[in-house]
């Protein structure tokens, strides 16, 4: 019930806040657009939609199709308003260079759509079907509106069009940097974690080091890399020819790797150290030697835990990589800092939104990998 009321409140808030902002050009703040400023058809549709949502919120019927339809209707209304604004920019004192930014109401509308969809998903008997259908319909809807030109004056897309090539390059760069850093951290971190699980003395040493690294603010760590690496590359031309220098990829990669170590080492250690001693004893009882115990018992049992550590590292690393733009390593942070410098929020969003999407994407992918790597016996014991 609380969930439904929250959904209803979100739906109402969507129209209480300005949905979009129309700006006459790239740097002026522009004017907010509320739904009640639009022609009657639009706000009437909004009011009807809210009443309908309120009705199902308070009714006891849980029909998945209804919720799915409402979320689609919500999205269509939003896109229709966007389309209307494209053609009527002059009503908000914007002309040729006018652009439309998303405002508070728009973001809450996205949340509402998500809530309606997840409610539909929870109550459906066709879990396999609902999500693909919803995604298909929504993508089709968005594409339809793109085809009729509803997005032509959308500020974030205008920013994207200006740098479409650079965007692709920086996106790949961002993914590469994050994966390379976490890859290196895995190669170092997993053995270090195993080592820590084996020996009390090294455990203290290892954790003191990585905990210490984690407390350094990311910007400071990037800064700290510059001097020693510049010195190294000046002393040894071989390093310079490999592309190692004070700024750029090398210091970013090192700093990001160092940050990625803690979750990987911590989880590897936990995964191995906390395996029940009976299991190990049983393995020994079956005649396994140390290497066999490790290979057939300890490693498989700790694999899900290790993968969780890698996943945590990767999600954290995708966020941290944004800061790497400050030392010339590129990545999506470039757009964030350009946007901050020119005080153009839409350009900041062009960097931020893909970072969020990347984090979610890799998080989901690794969830799948964890599920797949969990031994069947363990999965049964956990009951999933």
């Amino acid at each position: 019930m609380r969930f439904k009321i929250f959904t209803g409140l979100c739906a109402v808030c969507t129209f209480l806040l300005p949905l979009f902002t129309v700006k006459p050009n790239r740097i002026q703040t522009g004017s907010a657009v509320w739904v009640f400023e639009l022609p009657p058809g639009y706000w009437a549709a909004a009011v009807i939609l809210i009443f309908l949502i309120a009705f199902i919120v308070f009714s006891r019927r849980h029909t998945d199709i209804l919720f799915l339809l409402f979320s689609l209707a919500f999205m269509t209304l939003l896109l229709a308003i966007l389309h209307y604004l494209q053609g009527h920019l002059y009503m908000w004192d914007a002309q040729e260079y006018g652009r439309i930014s998303f405002s508070g109401g728009f973001w809450i509308a996205l949340l509402t759509i998500y809530l309606l969809l997840s409610w539909a998903y929870r109550n459906t008997r066709h879990k396999q079907l609902l999500l693909p259908i919803a995604i298909l319909l929504m993508t089709a809807g968005v594409f339809l509106f793109i085809l009729v030109g509803s997005f032509e004056h959308t500020a974030i897309l205008l920013e994207y069009q200006n740098r479409s090539q650079k965007f692709l390059m920086e996106l790949l760069n961002h993914i590469n940097l994050s994966l390379a850093a976490v890859g290196t951290a895995t190669v170092i971190g997993v053995p270090a974690g195993i080592w820590a699980a084996r020996s009390q003395k090294y455990r203290i040493l290892v954790f003191k080091t990585v905990n210490g690294i984690q407390t350094i603010p990311s910007l400071a760590l990037f800064g700290l890399m510059i001097a020693p690496l510049a010195l190294l590359s000046q002393q040894f031309p071989v390093l310079r020819s490999l592309g190692i220098a004070g700024i750029g990829t090398a210091p970013a990669l090192i700093a990001l790797t160092l940050y990625s170590l803690l979750p990987i080492i911590r989880n590897t250690f936990t995964g191995i150290y906390y395996i029940e001693t009976q299991i190990i004893s049983a393995a020994h009882g079956m005649g396994m030697n140390r290497a066999q115990t490790f290979r057939y018992i300890e490693l498989p049992l700790s694999t899900p835990m290790i993968l969780t550590g890698i996943r945590m590292s990767l999600v954290q690393c995708i966020g941290n990589t944004a800061v790497a733009a400050l030392i010339g390593a590129g990545g999506l942070g470039t757009f964030i800092f350009q946007g901050l410098g020119q005080s153009v929020p839409d350009l900041i969003l062009l960097g931020v939104i893909p970072v969020i999407l990347l984090s979610i994407l890799f998080d989901r992918l690794f969830h799948l990998a964890e599920h797949w790597a969990t031994p069947r016996g363990v999965r049964l014991a956990w009951g999933n």
Partner: protein, 313 residues
């Protein structure tokens, strides 16, 4: 089961290897040679950098585009570490790289340029090409209505207005308010003083935010720290007050090239000099405004300008 772990690890390791290989060996093409062009992370940097990239590319060089690369400090480190070959820098900045800020030569365009050439060549073998006849220096901009009502054209007018109790509130960065070369030097030369409540200090603020504050009269602000060539000024209804006593250093943009690269490809100088010669204050302001205000792509604006002036076919 550990095969899976090995698989995941090797995928990650492979991506690392692929990354190193991809960044290490770029495909080689038949060109006169490779030149890495960078620029600062602002609209003027994007514009000037893009011009240099397109011109060198047009003349058969492999122009590696690293425009909008980083802050002044990063640029400076990068060119000294030979990571980049060329980037547009401002003459007046050299004073601060060499602790020469008190030298009066920085207030005259020719002398400042000569001094920059001398200092950078001697210390780091960096060569300055021809500067643009535009001064992108620190300035104070006021709202158009304020300027018209009180006939403010120069900073001397502003000083008189302030001293007669006129209402003024200036948005600026911490650096502008406190650095000796900025507001304090204006106050000294024109004999006025802005009190604390006449300043709105936006820490880490840049001219885009201060100008916007003045345009929108945030917190009663009606004046803003600005740069001479800012493109947003006209669109925001602000006018720059003239520094008629030449308080500020002169900041003329010019390509800065590594000596080694220029010796190898001396042609670069003859390619770039004609372009920078045409970029006067009005031209730069209007080109910058197309980037900053209209949101056009730097490469389009640069290309169009070069073609219009017959510098690029």
């Amino acid at each position: 089961m550990n095969k899976k772990l090995v698989l995941v690890t090797s995928v990650l390791a492979l991506s690392l290897a692929a990354f190193v290989i991809l960044t290490g060996c770029e495909p080689k093409q038949e060109t006169k040679g490779k030149v890495v062009i960078a620029s600062k992370i602002d609209t003027e940097g994007a514009l000037l950098g893009s011009m240099i990239v397109q011109l060198l590319d047009h003349h058969g060089y492999e122009a590696v585009d690293k425009t909008e690369f980083g802050t002044t400090e990063v640029m400076r480190k990068a060119i000294r570490a030979e990571e980049i070959d060329i980037y547009p820098e401002y003459t007046g900045n050299v004073a601060f790289f060499h602790n020469d800020a008190d030298n009066p030569v920085w207030k005259d365009p020719q002398e400042a340029y000569a001094r920059a050439v001398e200092l950078d060549e001697e210390a780091y073998d960096l060569r300055w090409l021809q500067p643009a006849p535009a001064n992108n220096t620190w300035a104070i901009a006021v709202r158009q209505d304020l300027a018209e009502q009180n006939s403010l054209f120069t900073l001397a007018d502003l000083a008189e207005y302030v001293n007669n109790g006129g209402n003024l509130k200036l948005a600026c960065s911490e650096e502008f308010a406190s650095r000796q070369g900025a507001l304090p030097s204006f106050e000294e030369a024109y004999n006025f003083k802005l009190e604390k409540d006449q300043l709105l200090i936006l820490s880490g603020g840049n001219t885009a935010t201060t100008e916007r504050a003045a345009a929108e009269q945030t917190d009663g602000v009606n004046a803003a720290m600005a740069y001479g060539t800012d493109g947003a000024l006209a669109a925001l209804g602000l006018v720059v007050l003239e520094d008629n006593r030449n308080v500020q250093h002169v900041y003329q943009p010019a390509p800065l090239v590594r000596g080694e690269v220029l010796d190898k490809y001396p042609e670069i100088e003859t390619i770039l000099n004609p372009v920078f010669g045409t970029l006067d204050l009005k031209t730069l302001q209007s080109l910058n405004s197309r980037l900053a205000v209209h949101g056009e792509a730097a490469s389009d604006v640069a290309q169009e300008y070069l073609q219009e002036n017959g510098l690029l076919k």
